[in-house]
Symmetry: C2
Subunit: 463 residues, 2 copies
């Protein structure tokens, strides 16, 4: 297709105005590995939380002395999901457009949802299914069946059954030392089991990080790297292939860079400065480390619950809140992972399923039919809309396989006979969505004002 | 049968010489309950020790920081008794004349040999038999098959897996308190399981006692009394229906009384005085509490091993040592419990089986064919031997269902034309064996010199 005369003129005009970009050597430029690239492209995932206390009919307490972190569940035989159907879980998120799903193989109780041979506190101990259940296995089979990428979450920081508090086996003297060694070996054994028995994993998520072997914690990184070289490692004090985005709000602020100054994301630093670094990243950072946004679906109106509890349906986020999250996570170059939690039947509750479906439909409706798109190498991209159109969203994507290069850009819209800036920003990365007040425009122009290397915009679309 | 004239004369003669006994009221007189009576009559039992470390190919260390009490077994999957045959265990002791057998349902590692639903660290966690093994169940079935009375040993004082040291969950603060409550509940749950799932038990043995609920230990006594009212309870700081005989030598010193001054046998008192009280009992004691002698079969020549270890055959007690034990336990009014330990195949080793067989034969040979016996109420019992006979053993038994009444006695032998004292003693109880240098006698006379109530000698025999 030939470029129209008018468009060509605009193109020329703004070429002249383009600022020089700070040129970097390519070798200084952090790039994602294959796992990170897939993880960012996936955009939306779910983390399914399921543990013994889902069955205790009580409110889950995340903190305090009566919390599950220090108070073993009195009777683990309460775990009895009689209608367990992991297909139902996975179909629900598939329909909502999620691309990957993670399951809590263990959480803070220490109970393993799969038949471990190194941690006896697991499904084999149950009367349920005569000890023959394997929720991790079922889950991963369902993922593969429905084309969802499977991941595993491992909680090793807390274990109220074995007596582990913030990675440390509670106790004193030689007694404590011996049990710490044993616990570390148990954890390493579990990580090996999880990394070898269920095929390729998309992500492994260590709850709260996995600390550092030099601090006395289990040495999990070499195990993951040996048995799951293509799996995203999230994370310990040695390495974070993604970083927590600094809140559990399901959002990151803007700008949000995919790079970070250290190969690990945090080592116990809880200062505001560090939290801000987690939220924003560092455009000068030498390590590729995209941000995760996470939130539990049941986090609305005074609750923040990763685990199913009776009567919490009213705390399921309304659709508009979820859309807000989407714009402020995926739309900010961050992968969004939503916390879902099946109920004691073993099913994702109908209300949650319905909300996910509505959300998926809303995203689909908004973004499935662009008014116009383009992808041209260079510092300017122009889009003619074939007449005046009401637009509400602009999406920009970089080809992040070549790094995050754009540092500053703006978008002009041609409307009512003149050009004006309708959006501007710094970070693009995998995806930047500008949500606009509805506005009628005839043409759009993306101008990359600053970049570290020649920018590669892989997508520029308007909705 | 009419009493011969000569015998009658002797009888009369010694009636005159009989000293008065201190008469007590019958109500002051402690009596055994049915469980204690059966336990004393059984005389010989076995306690089978089996635990994870039988499979570790290492020497078992009962103490020290590297011991199994504080050092969890690194890999519990080593437990793999491929040729397990509890029939073979029980046939071995049946042949040796043992009347009851006890199995360590749990020992110091905390690992349960049966499929518990309250303690996940159990056979269900094993690859062995695909988690479907039940050694306690097999054991008890074998006992019933061969007419051996089954008992269960529960180790709750130590648990290196869960982190329990001398009943206390190791740890600090609220964390420790919560896990202590959980542990106590776990133990109580296990005791209930063991008391309800395997039919009537002959004895329940709490390793090192079960402490006292007031000291923060599990409250096990009401559970045993509720579900196994006819089972011998051994023991906690509230009640001991038998007492430890003060050593693990398989012997008690003489005299050994079946009565004790308190309803419990020890509450942590390790003074020499208390150990002596355990060994001897107290003839004035108001509580019936017969003494147990115990020793591991592999306790000879510098070893004392309750658990199988490679290359320990030379430490199996020689026959003469075992006979010494028999005389100094059963022959001293104490029930003897021998520690046996199957090997990693799941079989009692051939050398142990052979020694048991020899032992059983030796006891049988010595005691199965008395030269003469009698049982007459009264203070004197006479035995004519139908001519001069070489004797080596004299056995006296009281009808202990009526209490332990005899306080002093002697035995005269008529030899070479005159009577002389050939044995004397204080305690008789269920059984007193006098092992003599071979001596030729024509007649014997047992004279009860002192007793609290009229003595009831149920057996007087010579071998």
């Amino acid at each position: 297709m030939k470029m129209g005369a008018k468009r060509f003129l605009i193109f020329l005009c703004f070429t002249i105005l383009t600022k020089a970009f700070t040129q970097k050597k390519l070798s200084d430029h952090p790039l994602p590995n294959a796992a990170q690239l897939s993880w960012q492209k996936a955009e939306l995932g779910a983390v399914f939380h399921y543990d013994l206390h889902v069955f205790d009919k009580k409110k889950y307490l995340q903190t305090g002395i009566s919390g599950n972190r220090i108070n073993p569940i009195p009777d683990y035989q309460i775990f009895n999901p009689e209608q367990l159907d992991t297909d139902q879980w996975i179909k629900s998120i598939k329909k909502a457009g999620f691309k990957f799903a993670i399951i809590t193989a263990t959480h803070e109780t220490g109970f393993a949802l799969y038949p471990s041979n190194v941690n006896p506190y697991n499904v084999k101990a149950l009367k349920w299914k005569d000890g023959k259940g394997d929720i991790v296995g079922d889950f991963i089979n369902s993922c593969r069946k429905y084309g969802i990428l499977p991941g595993i979450y491992v909680g090793i920081r807390w274990n109220s059954f074995f007596g582990v508090h913030d990675f440390k086996v509670n106790g004193t003297g030689e007694f404590q030392k011996k049990r710490q060694l044993y616990y570390n070996q148990m954890v390493e054994g579990m990580v090996k089991e999880l990394c070898t028995q269920y095929g390729p994993l998309f992500e492994i998520w260590f709850d709260g990080g996995a600390s550092h072997p030099d601090l006395g914690a289990p040495d999990v990184l070499p195990i993951v790297k040996k048995y799951q070289p293509d799996c995203l490692f999230y994370h310990n004090n040695q390495l974070a292939e993604a970083r927590w985005g600094g809140s559990e709000s399901g959002t990151v602020p803007y700008p949000c860079w995919s790079t970070f100054p250290t190969p690990y994301s945090h080592t116990g630093d809880t200062t505001t400065d560090h939290i801000n670094l987690l939220k924003h990243g560092d455009p000068e950072g030498k390590y590729w480390m995209p941000a995760m946004s996470d939130a539990p679906l049941r986090g609305y109106n005074g609750r923040h619950e990763w685990f199913w509890e009776p009567g919490d349906e009213e705390h399921i986020f309304p659709l508009e809140e979820l859309m807000h999250m989407y714009y402020n996570s995926v739309g900010h170059n961050s992968t969004l992972i939503m916390g879902l939690t099946p109920d004691p039947r073993g099913l994702l509750p109908e209300a949650d399923v319905k909300r996910l479906e509505q959300w998926g439909e809303a995203i689909e409706k908004t973004f499935s039919k662009p008014i116009a798109t383009t992808a041209v190498k260079g510092k300017e991209l122009a889009l003619a809309l074939n007449g005046s159109k009401i637009i509400q969203n602009i999406v920009i994507q970089e080809d992040i396989s070549q790094g995050q290069r754009i540092r500053k850009y703006n978008i002009h819209g041609f409307t009512n006979g003149r050009w004006r800036v309708i959006a501007e920003g710094q970070s693009v990365g995998h995806k930047r969505i500008h949500r606009l007040e509805p506005i009628a425009v005839e043409q759009l122009r993306l101008e990359i004002q600053e970049s570290t290397l020649p920018p590669i915009v892989s997508f520029f679309g308007v909705y």
